[in-house]
Symmetry: C2
């Protein structure tokens, strides 16, 4: 689908301002020109980018986490993930997050692709990595505000958790789907 | 996994304030008690909830959309989706969004589950529906600020778009994975 086909869809930024800056979130509001020439505003989260890791143990089981997510006030079953530090390489970020959150290191890393979790109101992109040849090399090194339980699930247990509605985290579902598609590629 | 196992993960809200309210986004900041007794703040988007629809034509092809998403300044290939109106039933919202964005109505609807696209900083939940027995019953009825091209893709074309990195939208990937898992259930 050629770029020119999309000309009727494109919006052009005219100016941009930070309308909220907190400890975690930065919200921007841009004035934009719509494809029909009209002007409007678009509000969105300015996000530094993130990584998510699918860690597969030598047993074939997956390493996941249970973490309380305050916005939804419930514990989620999710893959290890985290924000990229300023200037940090994406693979280095994935290796760091896996180690900090689970204590595991991996000798084999494969990039599966990129996902955009929230295109309506955030510019977040998440790089997806598959990690194999895992070894527990250190204890968890969590931030002061982080509380994470590490769990291992077989593929069947993970599928069951998805079907039953226990596993609903978007980045985890998207990443597992990528892994599934690349397995059969 | 029993609820009590999660006691070491739970955070308790102490108070909550709206720190930004724009045309689209509402950001809240809550003061919370952490599992270790310490206090911190959590910032998140307060979202009304959304629906996403997987519309399957009688040919087996899927109905998708091409839409420019300003936060990422690119056109995305994505399933029809939208926010739930206040007090609106989720199925009714799915039927309305499909009709408004594509002009199609469906005679067969199946709920596949719920996904949470952005658990780190939004309380958004998206209800996933499969829509079959489709008929084009009306023209698109877009909002003044909406510009959407409707496209049809075969399953093979969709898989190719995912593998090539053209289809990266999280809600679309998550919803398609749910559909895939329920097909083999």
């Amino acid at each position: 689908m050629a770029e020119s086909l999309d000309d009727g869809l494109r919006e052009t930024g005219l100016d941009s301002e930070v309308v909220f800056k907190g400890r975690l979130l930065e919200v921007r509001r841009d004035r934009v020109r719509l494809p029909n020439g009209a002007e409007t505003t678009r509000e969105y989260i300015a996000h530094p980018g993130a990584v998510v890791v699918i860690p597969v143990l030598s047993t074939g089981k997956y390493l996941l986490e249970r973490q309380f997510r305050y916005p939804l006030k419930q514990v989620f079953l999710e893959l290890p993930a985290g924000k990229v530090d300023p200037g940090e390489d994406l693979l280095a970020a994935a290796q760091r997050e896996l180690k900090e959150e689970t204590g595991y290191s991996a000798r084999e890393w494969q990039r599966l692709g990129r996902i955009h979790p929230c295109i309506g109101y955030s510019n977040e992109g998440i790089e997806v990595f598959l990690a194999r040849k895992l070894e527990q090399t250190a204890p968890q090194q969590l931030d002061a505000n982080e509380f994470i339980d590490v769990v291992t699930l077989s593929s069947a247990e993970m599928m069951k958790a998805i079907r039953s509605g226990e596993l609903t985290d978007g980045k985890t579902l998207s990443a597992l789907y990528l892994a599934e598609l690349f397995r059969h590629a």
